[in-house]
Symmetry: C2
Subunit: 272 residues, 2 copies
Amino acid sequence: MEKIRRNERMSAMMKVLSDSPNRIFTLSTFCDMFSAAKSTMSEDIDILRDVMNDFDLGRIETVTGAAGGVCYRPLVSRQKAKNFICDLSTQLSGPERVLPGGFLYYSDILSSPDTVRVMGEIIATEYCEAGADFVLTMETKGIPVAYATANALGIPLVIARHSSKVYEGSAVNINYVSGSGNIETMSLSRRAVKENQKALIVDDFLKGGGTARGMIDLMREFNVGIVGTAFVMETASPAKKRIQGEKSLMILKITDDDPASAIVAPAPWLEA
Amino acid sequence: MEKIRRNERMSAMMKVLSDSPNRIFTLSTFCDMFSAAKSTMSEDIDILRDVMNDFDLGRIETVTGAAGGVCYRPLVSRQKAKNFICDLSTQLSGPERVLPGGFLYYSDILSSPDTVRVMGEIIATEYCEAGADFVLTMETKGIPVAYATANALGIPLVIARHSSKVYEGSAVNINYVSGSGNIETMSLSRRAVKENQKALIVDDFLKGGGTARGMIDLMREFNVGIVGTAFVMETASPAKKRIQGEKSLMILKITDDDPASAIVAPAPWLEA
């Protein structure tokens, strides 16, 4: 085989690393892939680390020890996150997206891959050191963003459902009070999570916090801890939610009697 | 600013391109990013194209003309697809995943990012020239794979639901006969798709084809054509489905009275 040049090795390695965020690849993997010495690969990785830093494209990290190696973490700088969410907020503000009852149509945003990926990376950046074992979401609309977050953290996605299904096996069901005040059911397969794991809750929308509260209660049934709760959008009203400490990307202000009043703004923590 | 070397340019460019599959970036974008001449960038792209080919990591394509530029397509070679699905099939075969009623538990696979991404890329590869405007799926379990497919094709994901929701605006509802023989409802927001678009249907499971038939009927209501139907898993029985021409990644053979008989095999088209 012809000798592989540094620019070729680095491009291919960057592709492999970024395909599997947070997964640790041993140096040997790349030594074998490129028929190169460990010292050569170490130099490549050092350069790659600087490139990703310089262009604000995430972080290359080396892990020492027996299980050591190199991994890519798609961390988003606060400045980049702020700019992205500002642009998105502008796009979502305005009367044409307001629906009867004071709701906002943004399903298109929640399933546009380019947008969803970055939202997931921003959330993942906030919780990258929290040690979550999986991302939990409640069907349906939050699934793409929750998946993108799980992908960026390199951990599985777990989806709670409104009812238990035959193809999920035995399940734990709980009842919770939804935003509309109804008693609803939330169900999760027993096989989906293990005791003493840690969950990061990600969902699309937070109003009163009933569903989020339900997810926290559901995790208690599994003896699973919560490392954080993140949402794409939360409503300014009610100010008092049934959960605390959440991180939302955007805040929606809207009054039922004046749809033209709809304003979407980046969440304050992004400004810090 | 210090001069940026070729290996730095190529690694950063690869990262930017692979983050947004099928999106065409103009040469000027990269010329500005790296303060480099067009001729230099063209050389970089030529090398990058060969690297991706050599390591079977997808394809770099250049598009000529006024809207021209360069894009990355995460195409998976048939050999790589076959190996991946063979490994997955082995992992899913066996009695411990069989549930009462002859169902198979594989929700964990459907939400594991590393697996989902590749399944999405395999499906995207099959339909990369079909000109789909969006990927359509029916809630819930197929959403991650459908999202990964949409991401690989660089098109939006559209999610049909069991009932219309206040935050989706006015919707079109249809009734369909589900696998269990019940009449169920499928709903899609009017804003979600436009007339004369083309849909690629992606879902997790195909048994009788009732839900898939429903999605096809739903698209007819919107005057949307179907370019293909793809599934993660289909059952060997019934052999006659309510749709035709589908591409599934795996075939499940299982008899209700003998759970130990569960066999998951790669679909025959992967062998071709």
